[in-house]
Amino acid sequence: MYGRPRIHHVPSEDLLAGALPVGRFVHGLRRMLQEEPTLQRQVLRGEVGRWTRARSGHVYLTLRDDDGSMDAVMWSSRAPPRDFEEGAEVIVLGSVDVYPPRGQLQLSVERIFAVDRLGDLEAQRRRLIEALRNEGALDRARRPLPFFPKHVAVVIGAGSAAEADVLRLSEDRWPGLRRTVIGVLVQGEGAEGELVRGLEAAAAMADPSVAARQDTPPVDVIIVGRGGGSTEDLWAFNLEAVARAVLRMPVPVISAVGHEVDVVVTDLVADIRASTPSDAVERLLPVRADLVQHHDELEARLSTASMRRTHDARQGLLLLRHRLAAAPTTGFTAATRRLDALTGRLSRATEARLRQQRDVVSNAGQGLKRNVDQRLAADRARLAELDAVLRSTDPRKVMERGYGMLHADDGRLITSVTQLRAGDALMVHLGDGQATTTVDHVKGGEHDG
């Protein structure tokens, strides 16, 4: 019994109104900590103090060194399969958190690595890379990817999200592309052996005789990879047997191991390194719809430009007729009529071609194509005929025989002396050029110069 409470007076209304419920305070504190980036997902080093695995599967541990210690928890979904000994040197990835029922500060650990094991693995990996470099495997000539793969083999985690991503994305980019997925273990015991066997099976499918037996095109590119994971999860891709299997592949290999920072050994020996399985698909496959669209554009431009040329020819012909107003024009009338007909035909032919090519894309029949080809051949013959007519009536041909055309300085064609006065400046057109001249005298006509 301590007698009376220490608060000797009834608190004021103001004080009561400002008092926070403690639970809300703790939750607010927790939020502040969670929003502080320097306290989240920190990599910490220390040794394991207490290590308790509860019946729930959660692991409660203490992380400590000479200067301090901190309680930590690993939720069952994150907890490693094997227990750590007290005193084990570890690296953890963890975030500071508060356990609200007790207001206790603790570290929520996502991953834990034994420093020694990671060190050993890393040393092995370095030795392997060094050996591969000495053999020239790291700077061997890389094989280019096929422009349009016919059959892609994908060696990847069986039933993984990465597998689903690859299938979906490849279908988006190149609908109907032939793909063979070989599902393997990509982490843990057995991953090394399964990756090697999966690669060997993919290599066998690249053999034309095997492919013929399966009634498929031979595999012409291999994607090997997995989705993202911890350094330890990805470790199989750092192992010598897997790296050597990649080097043995008879067709280009894309290494597609999901990670941001580290490079795994298969990245170094593959023909192409992708950052994720989806990235591999993007590097490998063009977007078919884009190519189809590009073709359609080229087709439209081809037709438009060809038709414009015939249009230009007709315009040129009309201009010529205008300039030769005084000359016999029978040839031009016929030529103009032919050209009109021809332009109409070419225009119909190109329109038909456009329609027909769309049909081809949607697998329509070929009859219309033959029809159009015949039309084009007929048009071509008519064009040749027209060309001959044009040549025979070209005014330049006349001028080559020694005749000239005169234009006044305002561009009028001079066809009569009545158009001339002494002192007029004229342009003389000959077969190979022009000259300027001035009128001295005018004889004949009604005008008396």
């Binding site: 422009f147 349009f148 016919k150 069986a158 597998e163 299938l167 279908e171 190149w174 609908p175 109907g176 592309l177 032939r178 793909r179 063979t180 997925v181 070989i182 599902g183 393997v184 399964e194 066997r197 999966g198 060997e200 099976a201 993919a202 290599a203 066998a204 499918m205 053999d207 005789s209 095997v210 399966q214 498929t216 078919r288 190519l291 189809v292 073709h295 080229l298 087709e299 431009r301 081809l302 430009a305 060809s306 414009r308 040329r309 015939t310 230009d312 020819a313 070419l346 190109t350 090519q357 081809v360 894309v361 697998n363 084009l376 048009d379 071509r380 064009l383 040749a384 027209l386 060309d387």
Partner: protein
């Protein structure tokens, strides 16, 4: 060997023809020839896009191995 030109070659030639036609200045005969060649090249390019058959196979490792069994040692 007179193989059909590959996709990239065909596409480059096609783009050159279209650019040439758009620049103008060719005579009618040449224009029609280029149109024909362009159309043929377009068919070559399009034919590369028509091969897909729509088959996806998802095999377990043992299934994949059974499928290719007996190969590789021949």
């Amino acid at each position: 060997m007179d193989e059909a030109p590959g996709y990239t070659d065909a596409l480059q030639r096609l783009e050159a023809i279209v650019a040439e036609l758009e620049r103008g200045g060719a005579d009618l005969e040449t224009t029609v020839k280029m149109f024909e060649e362009g159309t043929a090249l377009l068919r070559v390019c399009q034919s590369h896009l028509e091969d897909a058959e729509g088959r996806v196979r998802r095999l377990r490792l043992d299934e994949a191995e059974a499928e290719v069994e007996g190969s590789g040692d021949a």
